[in-house]
Amino acid sequence: MNDNILVKLKNAGFRIKNKWLVQSVSFQVEKGKIVTLIGPNGSGKSTTAKIALGIFKKIEGEVEKYTNKVGYVPQKISIDWTLPLRVSDFMVLTENIKNEDIDEALSLTGVIHLKNKNLGSLSGGEFQRVLLARAISKKPELLVLDEPVQGVDFTGEIALYELIKKISDELNCGILLISHDLHTVMSATDHVVCLNGHVCCSGSPIDVARNNEYKALFGEQASKTLAIYEHKHDHTHSNDGEIKKN
């Protein structure tokens, strides 16, 4: 067996009564690699992430998880704001973390000044940065990021994606990323899984970009976006944006 594998899905699926949320999904996340799930709304991206995390238990197929050092940034988080919870309390929610590691993670995501604020008083973007800081401060082997930059301002978004890439290299952790932002994400992604209730195609970004099902799902323009980022070096662009191979 490959020691680098952190989590592996084999024909995994999940249904509520007779409605399939997602089915026959297979992929694996390895150390130091970024796997990105893309797909339209309701295509089963978050469900797939929850299958990989073991949150959904009654699943079809198989999921093998080889690590328990997991950091998770969920897409939606409903926290009861009547709880007296400061950012610093939230950081140690699932694990004891050294104070300097907490400070470092909060600094990296740019919210160190909020450390003693009540969690309920944060804005959406600030809270998102805290969520990301909490996930990375654990120095996990597997990071699952479900739209980690939603609500973050534009410059912050780019910086956070760079941070995610940096963390993947520094900690050598595997990342399962869900994102709608094809531009910024694809340049860093090793493997793309395109979902639409099932895996409609998967592979390296360039393979996926060339796939006809992907084009049907996202349109011609999106296909170019992927191709541009994967193969910066082997093509140029004409004035109207068409790609010309070198």
Binding site: I55, N68, V70, G71, Y72, T82, P84, L85, L93, T94
Partner: protein, 267 residues
């Protein structure tokens, strides 16, 4: 020293308050006050069972409350009734069955008022031992499951995803609830136990900004309520349970002024 009934009641009451403090915080955080009520109502059935079979009261109440908790969980899975309807169903039917059984036990003189509202005269040395040892055990177990329980209270999926096994923590917490009701029934009475859990915790919420502070203030609030309540009870010959709960309410009202202050500071 324990010869004096008042000292016995005080020692027992303080033991109860130290345990209900942290447990009460979770009852408030997890919105379990009606669940607590249901378990407490079923305690009457536990008491009657204890009398019928010459059994230890605390142990009997603990067993019956645990059974009611299991029945509740099963009903939640197997019926389409909403949670509050199921809680009401179990609370009132177990109270009713308990009272019917009391009617049959004509050979025993029952102090119903004492059962419902607490009776400091009834606290024995044996009760003190059960409260302090049982209480210490409850707190120890709560400390062991603190992280998964608290994390899943904040967000279930985060706790589950990061490998904390929140379902097990929840099941253990349910058992702890049954246990605290069993050991505190004599002091506070079964109608008011939930008040002892919720009111000091609610008071603490008003004056704390972190979970640990809330737990500490909740314990302090409970301890003060017991002291004030028992002295009042002695002075005016009132039932111990209502006196303690009224003292807790008094502290809660005081804590509201603190909120008012901090709101004014913000403006």
């Amino acid at each position: 020293m324990f010869d004096d009934f008042f000292i016995r009641a005080l020692v027992a009451g303080l033991g109860v308050a130290i345990v209900t403090g942290p447990l009460g915080c979770f009852v408030v955080w997890r919105r379990l006050s009606y669940f607590g009520d249901t378990l407490a109502h079923s305690a009457l059935l536990g008491v009657t069972m204890a009398y019928s079979f010459q059994f230890n009261i605390a142990l009997s109440v603990f067993i019956i409350s645990s059974i009611i908790a299991i029945i509740l969980i099963q009903l939640q899975k197997k019926t389409n009734l909403p949670g509050d309807a199921l809680l009401g169903l179990l609370a009132h039917s177990s109270l009713a069955v308990g009272l019917v059984v009391v009617g049959f036990l004509t050979f025993i003189r029952f102090d119903i008022m004492g059962l419902l509202f607490g009776d400091i005269l009834a606290v024995t040395l044996n009760d003190i031992i059960i409260i302090w040892f049982g209480g210490a055990l409850i707190l120890l177990i709560l400390k062991l499951i603190w992280r998964p329980l608290f994390a899943s209270t904040v967000n279930y999926e985060l706790a589950e995803a990061e490998g904390l096994n929140p379902d097990r923590a929840k099941a253990i917490f349910t058992i702890l609830m049954a246990a605290i009701i069993a050991i505190s029934i004599k002091m506070v009475g079964l109608l008011l136990i939930t008040g002892m859990l919720i009111i000091p915790a609610a008071m603490a919420r008003n004056i704390s900004d972190s979970p640990i502070k809330m737990v500490i203030f909740s314990i302090i609030g409970g301890v003060l309520s017991v002291i004030i309540g028992l002295f009042t009870s002695l002075e005016f010959n009132t039932s111990s349970g209502p006196s303690i709960i009224a003292a807790a309410l008094f502290l809660f009202i005081l804590s509201l002024f603190k909120i008012k202050q901090s709101v004014q500071l913000k403006n």
